[in-house]
């Protein structure tokens, strides 16, 4: 996964990744918001958005993930999402309603913007979206960062060995790449 040697990667992957980032988010948000009316929900939307961002890491290397704000703050987003989901679940209790009472209620009129309706289940779905997105990006980013760290440690050790003892790099060079 970590692109340790960006020069080796085809330019096609890089331009493809760049081109696909925005559409992947548009699709994800559409799937999430339209989840109540069509196929998909916050969960799949979260994974799709995450795949769009992770593709950047795949094409440009782990450092690119550090650059993208949306990937840097992914773990935080995850817990913001958990907060949102918990709020939609428990706020109704404050109003004397049951857990997970959604507004507007059954057969009540919902404010809508075009075909988009403003209803609380969507807020819950946004929470799910953020949790899943944060998990995928945050988890893989953490793993990738650890891989890079290990590789750098190994490289540094090899560099030190080669400068102090004049050893060779060749024997272990295969270990780094996937």
């Amino acid at each position: 996964m970590p692109a340790l040697n960006p020069q080796k990667h085809a330019g096609m992957l890089q331009s493809g990744a760049r081109i696909i980032l925005l559409p992947s988010w548009v699709i994800a948000i559409a799937i999430m918001l339209k989840g109540y009316a069509d196929v998909g929900d916050g969960f799949s939307a979260g994974v799709i958005a995450a795949l769009g961002v992770l593709l950047q890491g795949l094409a440009f290397g782990t450092d690119e993930l550090e650059q993208i704000t949306l990937s840097r703050i992914a773990p935080i987003l995850s817990f913001v999402g958990l907060g949102l989901a918990l709020l939609t679940a428990f706020v109704p209790i404050l109003f004397g309603e049951n857990l997970f009472t959604h507004w507007p209620g059954i057969n009540e009129h919902a404010v809508h913007f075009g075909v988009l309706e403003f209803i609380t289940p969507v807020v819950f779905d946004i929470g799910v979206f953020l949790i899943v997105y944060g998990f995928c990006v945050g988890g893989l980013h953490a793993i990738a960062r650890e891989e890079v760290r290990q590789v750098r440690l190994r490289d540094r050790g090899r560099y030190l060995r080669s400068t102090t003892r004049g050893g060779s790099l060749a024997d272990e060079s295969g270990e780094v790449r996937l």
Partner: protein
Amino acid sequence: MMNPAMLLLVAAFAAPLVVSLLGAIRHSWVPRGAILMTGLAFAAAVWTCIQDDASVNVPWAPTWSMNFSLTLDGLAKMYALLATGIGFFVVLYASKYLALHLHHDHRLLEEQTRFFGFLLLFMASMVGLVMAQDLILIFVFWDLTAIASYFLIGFDRAEEESRSSAQMALLVTGITAIFVLLGALALFQIYGTFALPEIIIASNGGRNTGIAVGLIVLGALAKSAQVPMHFWLPRAMAAPTPVSAYLHSAAMVAAGVFLIGRVYPLVAQYDWMLDALLVIGFASMAVGGIIALTRRVLKQILAYSTISQYGYVVAMFGLGGEKGVAGATFYVLAHALVKSALFMTAGAVTEATGKKNLPDVGGLMRRMPLLAAGSGMAAAGLIALPLTIGFFKDELFFAAAYERGMTLAVMSVVGASLTLAYILRFWRQTFMGVLRTEPEPISGYLVWPVVVLGIASVVGGLWTVPAIWIVDRAASVSADAPIHLHIAYHLDARHENVMAIATWVAGLLIYLTRRIWWPAALGVAHLGSYFGPARLYYAGMRGLNQLSDSVHRIEVRDLRSRVATILMPAGLLVGLAVIVTPNSTSSFAVGALGRDDIPLITMLVASVVSAFVVIVVRDHFRLAISLSSVGFSLAGVYAFMGAPDVTLVALVVETVLSMFMIGMLVLMPRPILRFETEVRAERRYLRRDAIVAVVAAGMAFFVAWGALSRPSPSTEVIDSQTVLTAAVHGKDIVTVILADFRGFDTLGEVTVIALTLLGVISLLRTGRLR
């Protein structure tokens, strides 16, 4: 005005909270804050004591008929007074003692917060316990005292002895607490309520009730350190002295006899239970008394003495009748006053001289006259000399024993004379004779609580009205009938007096002839430590450790056994469920296959093929890829079954899962992966692996079969959900079910995801995964 019961509870539980908060701000305020808060709690106890009985009853879990019900009755008043009153003096004492203790051990003064926090929690849970009327509530407070005592006994956590003592106390009282819970549940089964007063009214004296009450009493006896569950108490001496003083007089150990007093109306219906109490009480008296005679460590003498003293109480409950109950209740009161004073004496002596053993101290009377006088009064109270409150505790004991015949009378005299002998030995060898170690001056905080409690013991002997007032009300609750205590000094040859004089003479004789019987008593003590129940405890602990170790060893030996430890129990449990589940009427049958099913079958075949590939390939990377192709083929199956929502989720999840798998593989050291690829399954494990595989596959098969065989959900449910979906502004029923109908399930699942992320990140960031 606030309800007195609620007021007392709030005052008691405010103490640990306030002290912990103070500790967070500035730890030097903690001792003074603790004194203030326990003082307030004591004041609240005194004030509520002179009020009428009061109750609080808040439905807690009404569907299970559990109520948060507290009643401040006579029994609760007495124990609450003891818990807060003795607690107050103990905290006064600890406010200086603990700083010295921490200083000796080169520890930070900040640890005071933890100590006083738990000490006050101990007090608060005692106050809660004595007022609780709901059996479950009693159990909760009961365990709270055990938890608080665990942290207090193990306060010197750097020392192995202190940790293992704390563990022993927690295990012995915690495991037996389960009996209390079992008894409570059994009573609930019989009477349909957890409310103790209702159970007492409704009780029928049946055999099942007897067993349930017996279980509760068993828990109580362990808490009161009665034979054969006494061995934890002497070990609990590892605690700092104020804890011991409190634990032995007004808290932990007292909680046991309190519970017996609380359920005594039920206990008294069963003669066999009373007889058992009698036997256990006298056995504890003898064991505690004999071993106390042989101990050399100051605090250990007192610890064994406690076992023996509570033996008196239990025996008196066993004797029963008006005299027995009144005597037991009175005994607890008198004992609490003097025993806490004696413990604090031992602590003060050790602080002043630096010696813990009796032979190393002596002749302290001249150097520490105030302490000698205070503890002398307390000791006189414990050995029941006239003009102290203790005199009456033995008078009541003798009277109750005499009623039941000569044998018990003689036994009680012997027991009491043992007490006299070891307390005489304790006090005389500490304060009289040759000066062995020159004491250093100590703070008045370590002396005055002893003096005040000693004076209280004498005042109680001269002016008996308050004690009678308290005990009358407390004993009336235990006996479930009005009790009026008659205690006074009589200068005649009534049998109580004769027995008292016999006790003093016999006790003095035992003390004077100690060189003769010393080896015999020591032999008994050794015998106890070799063949006693403590041995059973250690053997049990060792066995548990070995069991856990061997299971662990099997589990971590290799990946196969780790997988087997998960799959085998799961498979066996599912198999058991299949066997015990009654046969469903409509078991699943494979229907006819048509031409339309060809795409579906193609995808199924693809997933089966990739599943077989998983078995064949050895390289980890290919393994990951073939695993995900199983997933992708299944996504195709969903697609052909007309489930677009599930298909979408399966596709995206499978993609990201493959990335995770490969990412993790990259993290693993390459040589290990290479080695694992080379390694072949050992021949001798082949059969085992086959069994595991068959069991696990059988489990999966039965689960799938069972799910398919279930009667399909009635169309009504589906219809109503479809209608509702439109009503709640939805058009996609899957999303509506996830976010609305079964929203709580989804919430649980996504919470797990978020917590897993937290785990992954914290593991990787702290660099533990390397």
